[in-house]
């Protein structure tokens, strides 16, 4: 194993980590503010990919429509999330957590079947515009050009979320509501709207992850399954509700897998899980401080 190969795999692993981060950031946001482990988060990721594909297809896969398609995915999932939260979930906040989790499971079952109904079982592909097709050589590794977009998107999203949480009033209110929602209410803020917004934002990130992953892979039913478990593990390893924890967890996941390929390619898939297990056995509440 030479240094160049290691660096190459690191770069490759980073772009995967970025997708994981975007999705799990949404999950951890919802966990932190609403304290709901949203089981249909993965379905939204899938939905985001399908919507992006549909918009691109409607535009005849015109290169100019590509970015529009990428934007349409998250917007659609945010709307779906918002609708579910406003109409149903918001009526359940006073109930036990178990009910909230099972509710999101029910929504997952419905959403997955709806995606099947609407798009059918065929797999689709969303081709990036010519300028982003093909690969560039980074550190001797052929890296798809679109992965550069991912490498940029991750930090951008992290930065954006940080700005939101610390520089906007809404973000600060959401952080405050995470610890004491009644107090936020008596200060004159409609907490339920804050929750709706935070939930929609979380869902938006799931859809964004899906839309961003769409040009790199086949868009299929079931693409949500392994991702959901991965992102749950990531937020647990990072510390529930902790945004930076999601970033750390994603990097751990993405990088251990791609670097693990150099060490023991046959079992590289198991590396992230082994690392997660090790972390949790030592620190059962995750690496960074949990918001819970």
């Amino acid at each position: 194993m030479d240094a160049a190969a290691l660096l190459g795999q690191l770069v490759v692993g980073l772009s995967r980590a970025m997708i994981l981060f975007i999705v799990s950031a949404g999950l951890t946001l919802v966990l932190g503010v609403l304290r709901v482990p949203n089981v249909f988060h993965g379905s939204l990721y899938m939905l985001g990919a399908f919507v992006a594909w549909t918009v691109a297809e409607a535009a005849g896969f015109h290169p100019a429509a590509f970015w529009l398609a990428l934007a349409a995915g998250p917007v659609a999932t945010a709307l779906v999330g918002l609708a579910v939260e406003r109409v149903l979930l918001s009526r359940l906040y006073h109930r036990e957590h178990l009910m909230l989790i099972l509710f999101t499971f029910g929504v997952m079952l419905i959403l997955n079947d709806l995606v099947k109904l609407l798009w059918g079982p065929t797999y689709r592909s969303l081709v990036p515009p010519p300028s982003l097709q093909g690969a560039v050589t980074v550190l001797g590794v052929a890296l798809p050009k679109f992965n550069l977009v991912l490498l940029a998107a991750g930090p951008l999203v992290a930065w954006g979320l940080w700005l939101f949480a610390h520089r906007t009033r809404a973000g600060k209110v959401a952080r405050a509501a995470a610890t004491d929602r009644d107090m936020v209410a008596v200060l004159g803020t409609d907490v339920s709207r804050v929750f709706g917004m935070a939930f929609a934002l979380g869902c938006l990130l799931a859809g964004l992850g899906g839309a961003l992953v769409a040009p790199t892979t086949s868009i299929t039913l079931g693409m949500d399954h392994s991702l959901l478990i991965d992102s749950f593990l990531i937020v647990i390893v990072g510390g529930l509700g902790n945004l930076w924890g999601a970033l750390v967890g994603s990097l751990l996941f993405g990088v251990t897998q791609s670097v693990g390929l150099l060490v023991w390619p046959q079992f590289a898939v198991a590396f992230p899980y082994a690392v997660t297990a090790a972390v949790l056995l030592i620190r059962p509440t995750g690496l960074l401080r949990s918001a819970w």
Partner: protein, 318 residues
């Protein structure tokens, strides 16, 4: 008293089932019994213990896999392998429980979900032993169990025995203590109860009975599949408990009957069975939060119950 009459009638119905039911319905009944035992074992920790056991299916799968692997790969005598399944499941319950009971409710569930997922991944990837995504099929079972009525008889007798044992546990000092812990762990602690030890013991017991269910599945289907350890199945078992009523003893059994029955029935007409289940689940959460049996109990006033206390905002530590 009427309860015992009902139990007697049910036992009689189970006894005559092989004579009156066509084979497929007999098989379905056996499957419902196995699933019902699985759901009831979950409810020992969920409804009676107040633990968010999100990944109970793991113990079911471990019980089934250990029995299957012992028979097909290690050439153990079938009955010995059948005994090994529940023991292994209980051991897994001890290990997973050891790490989980230290944590608060939701973290408990989440950690369990992740530890359970490791077990699932092991089953899915350890091809030489577990058969990977393929599972293990055509497991040779003792000649006495070859026919469906024989397999049914085993399932019916064992499930009835396990339910009786679980009933005894629920009514025992341990069961009462467990319910007290569910209602108020802190108060129990101050009362002199070692809360974690009880929770751990409950997890081991529940895992054991889930393992029994897993072994019965092997006896009935002669197959094991990695999906038995997948989190989706675990959530389905949770749904069964909720549907039947997770503060009642019979609820999970009823829930299992409804879910397994509907899956078979609806599955014949539409490929969108999960959509139906999802809608059913949401309706349930909104309109029948105490589940079918819980609702009936309230209606008939067998016990006066109160709505579960809403978890206060900072509850996670509970």
């Amino acid at each position: 008293m009427s309860g015992w009459i009902l139990v007697g009638l049910l036992a009689a119905a189970l006894a005559v089932a092989p004579v009156v039911l066509p084979p497929f319905l007999l098989y379905l009944l056996a499957l419902i019994l196995v699933t019902g035992l699985l759901a009831t074992s979950l409810n020992l920790v969920l409804g009676y213990g107040g633990l968010y056991q999100f990944h109970h299916g793991v113990f079911y799968g471990i019980g089934a896999y250990v029995a299957a692997v012992a028979i097909t790969r290690l050439d153990w005598p079938a009955w010995l392998a059948f005994a090994a399944g529940p023991v292994a499941a209980a051991a897994a319950g001890l290990v997973i429980g050891f790490f989980c009971v230290r944590l608060s409710r939701l973290y408990f569930g989440m950690l369990q979900l992740s530890l359970g997922s490791f077990v699932w991944i092991v089953a899915l990837r350890w091809y030489p032993v577990t058969g990977g995504d393929n599972g293990i099929h055509g497991i040779p079972v003792p000649a006495a169990l070859q026919s469906l009525p024989a397999a049914y008889a085993l399932v019916a007798v064992v499930v009835a025995g396990c339910l009786a044992a679980l009933w005894a546990v629920v009514r025992s000092p341990f069961g009462l203590t467990l319910q007290a812990i569910r209602d108020n762990p802190q108060r129990s602690e101050v009362m002199g109860v070692d809360v974690r030890a009880h929770q751990l013991a409950a997890m081991v017991l529940a895992a054991f009975f889930a393992g029994v269910a897993g072994v019965l599945y092997v006896a009935l289907e002669r197959s094991v599949f990695p999906n038995m350890l997948f989190w989706v199945l675990s959530l389905e078992i949770l749904v069964m408990c909720l549907l039947g009523g997770w503060f009642t003893f019979s609820g999970p059994l009823v829930g299992a009957a409804v879910v397994v029955g509907l899956r078979t029935l609806v599955g014949r007409y539409t490929e969108y069975w999960t959509l139906v289940l999802g809608v059913l689940l949401i309706l349930l959460i909104f309109f029948l939060p105490e589940g079918i049996m819980g609702h009936l109990q309230q209606r008939w006033g067998a016990h006066r119950t109160v709505a579960p206390r809403p978890a206060p905002a900072g509850d996670a530590r509970g």
